[in-house]
């Protein structure tokens, strides 16, 4: 059993998190979200005409997310720049995690681009990216039902813990990583992935822990958005 967490945290405790918005002046909206040593920037451009034009829709604006790790942001070797299969998949699930709260019907035949760049990673990077993206979209003035908060819960050697660090992901025992993205006001899930073996009951417990952490992270996000106008 994984009794004491490697960095001393309680099972329900996420790493020290902080958020800032409006930090990229050229973008329509922007944010930086840090959790532990994982840090993600997000910048929003648009709505604007997108190329290729056949990707546009006459019914609604189109959301395009691009997740990218800066070359020096990996835990080991340099990360070769450019899209790869992992970043393509993360970009795709990031889009699906944000669309449920966005109303893009006011922008038919236009696209909204969200660029997510990780300057350093220590596990939980896709969650940090989604959280930063949600902040950037709100900062850009888009109408949203609510913010989207993403946080991972994991099972390390049978113990459920919130916000795994890289060390924990790498732990010498069975580890299950479950990234969640949740709409705080309703508890609805917009992102859910899982790798590893888990019982159904444990999954439901994991959701409860993720929801609780998401509510706390939402407060951090809320303060960051308000702080800009103080």
């Amino acid at each position: 059993m994984y009794k004491k967490r490697l960095d001393g945290r309680k099972p329900s405790e996420f790493r020290k998190a902080s958020a800032e918005v409006g930090i990229i002046k050229n973008a329509v909206g922007s944010a930086r979200f840090q959790i532990g040593k994982t840090s993600a920037y997000a910048a929003v451009y648009g709505p604007r005409e997108i190329i290729p034009r056949h990707k546009m829709s006459a019914k609604s604006g189109v959301l395009r997310c691009n997740y990218n790790m800066m070359p020096f942001s990996g835990m080991g070797d340099r990360v070769r720049p450019g899209n790869n299969r992992r970043s393509t998949e993360i970009s795709y699930v990031t889009e699906s995690s944000l669309l449920p709260v966005l109303d893009l019907k006011k922008f038919p035949n236009a696209g909204v681009d969200v660029f997510i760049e990780l300057d350093q990673t220590d596990a939980g990077s896709r969650c940090a990216g989604i959280t930063a993206a949600s902040l950037a979209l709100a900062d850009a003035g888009f109408a949203m039902k609510d913010l989207v908060v993403a946080v991972a819960v994991g099972s390390v050697d049978g113990t459920l813990v919130v916000d795994l660090s890289y060390e924990e992901e790498d732990y010498d025992a069975p580890v299950v990583d479950i990234p969640f993205a949740i709409i705080p006001s309703t508890g609805e899930i917009t992102l859910l992935q899982m790798d590893g073996k888990l019982s159904q009951e444990t999954l439901m417990k994991a959701y409860d822990m993720a929801k609780k952490a998401a509510d706390e992270i939402y407060d951090i996000m809320k303060s960051a958005l308000k702080k800009r106008y103080d």
């Binding site: 005409e49 900062d139 850009a140 003035g141 109408a143 939402y218 958005l225 308000k226 106008y229």
Partner: protein
């Protein structure tokens, strides 16, 4: 029951009130028995109506708006302009001038590529295409000068009540200034006065949602120009 205060900053998802007492307006939505905000902005409670004044700068083109456009394409019969909106806006030859423009003339001589103009929106079509005119008082091509981009939600503060704020800046700096509803300001004057005008406008852009702004701008202008100024209160 109200859960927020007037002029408070709120974010998407935040509960503004519980129960059916209030009516949700711009920037809000009703979900179950609460009204929540859908954008980042300032709460505005007007009787029983709650709406949110957005803090972001997105410009929504509306018929009748005076805008500053920039040419990005010249076609056979007109100009396509960027007006800080996701959609194309078009100025036809006919709407550019009361004088007759012969077919086949070089339109770039009237307004060049990358040229700026002050126009009025005459129509926003169902497909979000925007028609412009340059015929009308004050509408014209803009020569020289400097463009300052501002948050379009701050335009009314830059103009001020009955134009009092913009008048103050014009008087202090002697610059010609035109403010577009689409968040573009054009100004032209003596170089050192342009710098002062730009700083004053950027001050309003930064702090436009706060109280005491007119006084702050007046003090700033007096300090920079050495002139004694008066705010015209109509």
């Amino acid at each position: 029951m109200l859960k927020c205060k007037d002029k408070e900053i709120v974010v998407p998802g935040e509960i503004l009130c519980e129960g059916m007492e209030f009516l949700p307006s711009y920037g809000t939505y009703r979900a179950d028995k609460v009204i929540r905000s859908s954008i980042v902005g300032l709460v505005n409670i007007d009787g029983k109506v709650i709406k949110i004044m957005p803090t972001s700068g997105r410009y929504f083109p509306r018929r009748g708006d005076t805008i500053i456009g920039r040419v990005f394409d010249i076609t056979m019969n007109g100009w396509r302009l960027n007006i800080n909106s996701p959609y194309s806006s078009f100025l036809t030859m006919m709407e550019a001038s009361s004088q007759f423009i012969r077919k086949g003339s070089d339109l770039s001589k009237i307004i060049p590529m990358e040229g700026y103009m002050v126009g009025k929106i005459t129509n926003v079509t169902g497909q979000n295409l925007i028609d412009l005119t340059m015929k009308g008082p004050g509408l014209r091509k803009l020569d020289g000068g400097v463009i300052v981009n501002v948050n379009s939600s701050k335009v009314s503060r830059i103009i001020g009540r009955q134009g009092s704020m913009i008048k103050l800046i014009k008087e202090a700096t002697g610059c010609f200034i035109t403010v577009g509803q689409n968040g573009r300001v054009w100004l032209s004057g003596e170089a050192k006065n342009e710098v002062i005008a730009i700083n004053a406008i950027e001050l309003i852009n930064e702090k436009g949602h706060k109280k005491g702004l007119t006084d702050e701008v007046k003090k700033f202008l007096e300090k920079e120009t050495g002139k004694k100024l008066e705010v015209s209160n109509v």
